[in-house]
Amino acid sequence: MVYTVQSENRSRDETLLHAAAAPKCPTVSTGAFNGPLELLVHLVNTQEVDIYQVSLCQVVDDFLQVVFKTSLDISLDTSTQFLLYAAILLEIKSRCLLPQPPSDDQGEKEMNLLEQRDLLLNSLLSSRTYARVARHLSGMIETAGLSLPRSWGLDTELVWLAPDLLDGVSPEDLRSIFGKVIENSIPLEVDLAHISVDSITVTDVAEELSSSLPNLKNVTFFEITSHLSERIEVIVWFLALLELCKTGQVVLDQGELFGELHIKWIGDYENG
């Protein structure tokens, strides 16, 4: 994917910047967008692309530019919302890239297109409607929140009159309720377990190989990677090897498809 600097698109970037900054105001009147669908329309207007032909590269580029330009004052809410929009566009695009069932009837194609357009307009209108209702309900909650209910309860001397509340409650009930609470409890920390941080880089490995390979006469890829445990590490080592091959430091030879990959150092021996 090629990223191009788009100086001619300044005005569009500014629009996006503005749009990205808008949700920061406390009322969350997102201005330009009211949701993912609004973003689509926005892109259609500013990028002048067909809604089914959104350029992936463009979207990612726009997104990154917004992130970089506003990195100092962009809120987490805004940036995640934007990330969500970008992800939705990627999903739509990837769906478009899937082969469509063949249809030789031109009329039917056009009908489908019209239908899709109507559906889109429909959901756009309903998403705007609910965004507005939501803002109104927020106002109602705010007003209602100005008044707090009484929750004193029965006075202690009367409590004994009330039927026992634990009648029919078993320890097992308690356990399952506790389990449900814990399950529903919102984690106070963001779980990052699914994100793996690269501990090694291609550059690091290439450097390491440049010092170790000259001393090894003829080794195979399997041999030099046998101590690695993570698949991602093996991939990085392979990429580093390709890098060295590209710069003419090593020769790679593979006798047969999926066969053993032999590595021979032909570069400088400065480190040896």
């Binding site: 949700p23 969350v28 997102t30 949701g35 993912p36 669908l37 329309v41 259609v44 207007n45 002048e48 692309v49 067909d50 809604i51 809410d77 969500l84 939705i88 297109l113 357009r117 889109l120 307009l121 959901s123 756009l124 209108l125 309903s126 998403s127 705007r128 409607t129 609910y130 965004a131 507005r132 209702v133 939501a134 803002r135 109104h136 309900l137 927020s138 109602m140 909650i141 007003t143 209602a144 929140g145 100005l146 008044s147 707090l148 209910p149 009484r150 929750s151 004193w152 309860g153 029965l154 006075d155 009367l158 529903n184 409890s185 919102i186």
Partner: protein
């Protein structure tokens, strides 16, 4: 009702209602109060409206309000700043725009399933639904008959209380929020243009 016109001898039903509401922890339905004070629901309703007006005209720092189908005492909104100072912790955090949108959809279209909510919002809303369920504003009211029998969500009495509403009928009509014809036409033409390219 004038400040000074309240009958000097309060009816026993009115006093009983006040006494019971003072020790209640949740809104008490008119019907329920009628059973306790041994009178008709109509009479309870009349009394509650009357004493509620009496507090208002005497500018007490509390109100008698009807929410979620029942009556309860609450602090007067005018005194918010003092109550807030007193009960800082009690004020729940604001709901996000996404949560409010989901709540609005559930409120107006209930009962509906997760996937129906997602269809209206255009995005998966499971996380938000979980949050709203946990806060007790929505809950599963039943199950659809279709495959998998998905749970159908609806709003709870806590939702009504949160909004200060007596019943769902008091929600503002949706029609007032639907984009106008002009706006729809603009959107329509925007979509249309893109296609002709």
């Amino acid at each position: 009702m004038k400040t000074d016109s309240f009958r000097p001898s309060r009816a026993v039903e009115a006093r009983a209602i006040e006494a019971v509401l003072m020790v209640a922890t949740e809104p008490l339905a008119t019907q329920f109060l009628a059973g306790i004070v041994e009178t008709t629901p109509e009479e309870v309703e009349r009394i509650c409206i009357e004493i509620s007006g009496w507090y208002e005209s005497n500018q007490t720092g509390f109100q008698l309000v009807k929410v979620a189908g029942g009556w309860r005492f609450a602090s007067h909104p005018d005194m918010y700043m003092f109550v807030e100072k007193f009960a800082k912790e009690g004020f729940s955090t604001r709901l996000s725009a996404a949560a409010m949108e989901t709540l609005a959809i559930v409120a107006y279209k209930q009962p509906l399933s997760r996937s129906q909510i997602a269809a209206v919002r255009g995005v998966n809303s499971d996380g938000v639904i979980r949050l709203l369920s946990q806060r007790g504003y929505i809950s599963v009211h039943g199950h659809a008959s279709g495959p998998g029998q998905p749970g159908l969500y609806g709003t709870t009495p806590a939702f009504l209380e949160k909004l200060g509403l007596n019943s769902l009928d008091d929600l503002p009509p949706l029609a007032g929020f639907v984009p106008g014809l002009e706006e729809a036409e603009v959107l329509d033409s925007q979509l249309g243009d893109s296609h002709n390219e």
